[in-house]
């Protein structure tokens, strides 16, 4: 699996991809610094939490960056036909999918989790409970979106388009308008984790129970991982 993991890391670490990721993940950090400069030591209020953590980090940057990186884990190889190099090897399909997913998680996680950590550390003045909550919520969000978008990249050559529709329509619009949709919203799982680890975060919102969110998150991650393995087993590899 080490060879496939190293290959995935190299393939997903193109200069332009990393540069754009760096710029995007710097935005919440800049917001955190701005808050600190304007508000001094005051604990970030609901407006900041909604704008920087929910709206920007959990709502846009994490899903967009994971979409760009995770969907490319397979779609680029399908496009340039190098995927056959892996599938024509005497290794089971899960030993291709798992390191690919880990590679996507490593690249996007390195930027996104670091961004969440630095943003919260600055915004919450080093309050460890809040920093841990935001960082853990971001990490779980990265894992879930990565699993989903790796599968999307295997299913269609238009993964970016479908991914954007999903992010802005499902996660952005429907999950905000229809309360029932939150049960099936990865963003909501991430915010729930933040709130459960530090109840000062998003204190005015309603969340699912810890057990339900844990079960749902594990199920989503495992289901999309299993679907990716199944897809790679059944598809015609170009």
């Amino acid at each position: 699996m080490g060879s496939v993991y190293k290959l995935a890391l190299r393939q997903l670490s193109g200069r332009w991809r990393l540069l754009i990721t760096l710029l995007l993940t710097a935005l919440p950090v800049i917001m955190g610094i701005t808050w600190r400069l304007i508000e001094g030591d005051r604990f970030p209020d609901n407006d900041f939490q909604d704008l920087a953590l929910n709206g920007m980090l959990a709502g846009v940057i994490i899903p967009l960056v994971t979409l760009a990186i995770s969907s490319a884990a397979f779609s680029n190889e399908i496009e340039d036909r190098t995927l056959a190099n892996l599938t024509l090897s005497p290794i089971p399909r899960w030993k291709i999918v798992v390191p690919k997913l880990l590679g996507a998680l490593t690249v996007s996680g390195a930027f996104l989790v670091t961004s969440a950590f630095i943003t919260s550390y600055i915004a919450f003045s080093g309050d460890l409970d809040a920093v841990l909550a935001v960082t853990a919520g971001a990490a779980i969000s990265v894992a879930l979106y990565s699993s989903l978008f790796v599968w999307t990249g295997l299913m269609t050559t238009r993964a970016i388009g479908y991914g954007l529709l999903y992010i802005f329509l499902w996660e952005g619009l429907f999950a905000g308008l229809v309360s029932g949709v939150r049960f099936l919203s990865l963003r909501h799982y991430s915010l729930t984790v933040m709130h459960r680890l530090d109840d000062r975060l998003f204190s005015t919102s309603e969340f699912l129970s810890t057990g339900v969110v844990t079960g749902a998150a594990v199920t989503v991650f495992v289901i999309f991982l299993a679907l990716s393995i199944r897809r790679l087993r059944r598809m015609d590899v170009p």
């Binding site: 060879s3 056959a84 190099n85 090897s89 015609d236 590899v237």
Partner: protein
């Protein structure tokens, strides 16, 4: 007797390692491969057919990259689809340049060796790279290689685990004449070790130089299969059109028409003559002699029916 029957079957007494039984593949309403059956034994087998005939689809199904719509394919008696363990015995080189541009040639071969569980990896990698004569370029990124070099490094990656079966789709694309000879010698020595090489090509001469047995695929169907020389002999019996350019076409036409094997001689408006011969070998021998007797200078002799499509057309219709 049909052409297919005439040319059946593979030579040699060894067991078939690849069995294709009534295999079809369709994409929507388009039938790419239709009810094809054959067996492949050790040695070099040429998969021959015009572009778009279905060779690549067939090879992809044999390798397990693509599913069959109907029928059955086995390699070493096992179904190849979703049977990844078989790939330790199979080496596949597709027609596409499936290389990682950023990767150094040696790293590519090494990665492929690792994936195939090769023991004594470094030695195996060096040996494979030396086989394709690319040791000097092994530490350069493959993005800097010429097309021929990429093909050779891909072949090294295909050979690194010393597979029992080599499946090569249009492997000589982009190779210069020297590389072709090297490549052909390499495949020949591989086959001499009792291994199986399946080579796909749309160029008759390429397969002729290498393959003991050929499978002719036309419009997704197996038009003929068997010993290459039997197919060649069958082809020699068909009428051939040959264009002859000379400084005195009418005199030459008058001389040629007396030959028994000539069915017709047409003098074209531009002064060239087109000869319809039932025996090309006879024409090859007689044309210079008759030209000399008639004191005619022959400038060019050009076979008009040697394109693969016309050969296949004859075989299919024949």
């Amino acid at each position: 007797m049909t052409n297919s029957e005439t040319m059946n079957n593979s030579t040699g007494s060894s067991e078939a390692v690849i069995k294709v039984e009534n295999v079809s593949r369709w994409f929507g309403n388009v039938v790419s491969v239709s009810d094809v059956s054959f067996e492949i034994k050790p040695g070099i087998t040429g998969l021959l057919g015009p572009n778009g005939a279905g060779k690549t689809t067939l090879l992809r199904m044999i390798t397990g990259l693509a599913a069959v719509s109907d029928g059955n394919i086995t390699v070493f008696g096992e179904s190849v689809r979703n049977n990844s363990s078989l790939y330790s015995r199979i080496g596949v080189m597709s027609e596409h340049e499936t290389v990682y541009q950023f990767m150094k040639g040696r790293d590519f071969v090494k990665m492929m060796g690792e994936l195939r569980g090769v023991h004594d990896l470094d030695n195996a990698v060096d040996k494979a790279i030396q086989l394709v004569d690319l040791a000097d370029a092994a530490y350069r990124p493959m993005g800097t290689y010429s097309r021929g070099m990429r093909q050779r490094m891909r072949l090294a990656a295909t050979l690194v685990h010393e597979p029992d079966i080599l499946l090569l789709d249009e492997p000589l694309n982009g190779a210069d004449p020297r590389q072709r000879v090297h490549f052909q010698n390499l495949l020949q020595s591989y086959a001499d070790q009792g291994k199986t090489v399946v080579l796909s090509s749309h160029i008759l001469e390429e397969v002729e130089q290498l393959a003991d047995t050929v499978l002719l695929i036309v419009n997704g169907k197996l038009a003929a299969s068997g010993d290459f020389h039997a197919i060649r002999a069958a082809l020699n019996d068909r009428p051939y059109h040959v264009r002859v350019v000379s400084d005195s076409p009418r005199d030459l036409a008058a001389a040629l028409v007396k030959l028994e094997s000539i069915d017709a001689v047409n003098v074209e408006a531009d002064g060239e003559i087109v000869v319809l011969s039932r025996n090309v070998r006879d024409l090859q021998i007689e044309l210079p002699r008759l030209a000399k007797l008639a004191d005619v200078r022959v400038r060019r002799v050009e076979p008009l029916d040697d394109s693969l499509e016309s050969v296949f057309g004859y075989l299919v219709e024949g």
